[in-house]
Symmetry: C2
Subunit: 188 residues, 2 copies
């Protein structure tokens, strides 16, 4: 539960925990990001940490949620391609976040995992926003009008996710460049 105004300290502590967890994933890997490890990093007992998030799974989902919120503030409201590429270039600086995202996207296959609801919501929201942008660019003649906008969105999303899968195996691949090449194919 996110606390409201009255408990400012709790809100700050929550954010500190999210940052510490992400930092540990980036430095030592998802596997060693146990509740105990994260609790140690912020000077809490495991139970004290779980007080804020209820479960480890929720904690991890909340990291992604916070990250999406930060992205939507920072990324300029430009075209689909520019926005996606900007996010990808940012992700390349934060390997822990990419590993976490990839993991949770896979764990979302479990209907009982909180990541499932998160990714279903997120997909609906992201696709709705992308739909408007894609259709507008088709009308403006920057994307081929005969292509199904739903396909463009599904494929663009899947491509970006799949490239992250490949990138955690081999970080020398240039995810942003590969996505740009995809968009080049969509041009009239």
């Amino acid at each position: 539960m996110v606390k409201r105004g009255a408990y400012a300290k709790g809100v700050v502590k929550r954010e500190g925990i999210l940052e510490a967890a992400l930092e540990i994933i980036g430095r030592r890997g998802y596997r060693s990001a146990s509740v105990r490890e994260i609790a140690d990093a912020v000077g809490l007992s495991p139970a004290g940490l779980l007080h804020y998030f209820g479960s480890k799974e929720q904690l991890f989902v909340d990291i992604l949620r916070a990250r999406d919120a930060a992205d939507s503030r920072q990324v300029p409201d430009a075209g689909v391609e520019e926005s996606l590429v900007a996010i990808i270039r940012h992700n390349e600086q934060v390997p822990g976040l990419v590993e976490l995202y990839t993991r949770l996207a896979a764990e979302a296959g479990d209907p009982a995992h909180p990541a499932r609801a998160f990714f279903l919501d997120r997909t609906a929201i992201v696709h709705a926003a992308a739909r408007e942008a894609v259709v507008a660019e088709q009308r403006a003649g920057r994307i081929r009008a005969e292509l199904d906008p739903e396909w463009i969105i599904r494929a663009g999303h899947a491509l970006a996710d799949g490239l992250q899968n490949a990138w955690i195996l081999d970080p020398t691949i240039d995810m942003a460049a590969d996505v740009e090449q995809f968009f080049a194919l969509l041009k009239p």
Copy 2:
């Protein structure tokens, strides 16, 4: 360790375990596919099961390995598009396999996980085969010659992986059709 000829019984049992594990993942989900659960299904103790595979992680990797071997026997040696689409259509019949693949692809981000070596090898082999096929189709004029074959391979692979990520959230999406649309864009 894979046993050689002399111990036919062990080989058969190994295969039975792989099948039982995949069946449990498909029916009850990856999460409940514990060593104990799988051991029960084949009438073994957990330690008896581990005798064959060494670890749970290895067991799961071996399922994917066996599946790749089966695919390379069954899939006709046609063009890149036809082969990929055939595998995808087959995967749509085996949700447990898709869930397992997606999970392990994510867990391969961990350098200590046996899935990492598996996916690195697999990627190298699959890409090498795809490279020849793509270049041949470019020479034959079925794929645009000006496109970088390495990009086609990386993007095709990433797209297929990403679509599986989306499919475990929403199995109504038509992975094969989306891949076919991608290949349509590559045509001259």
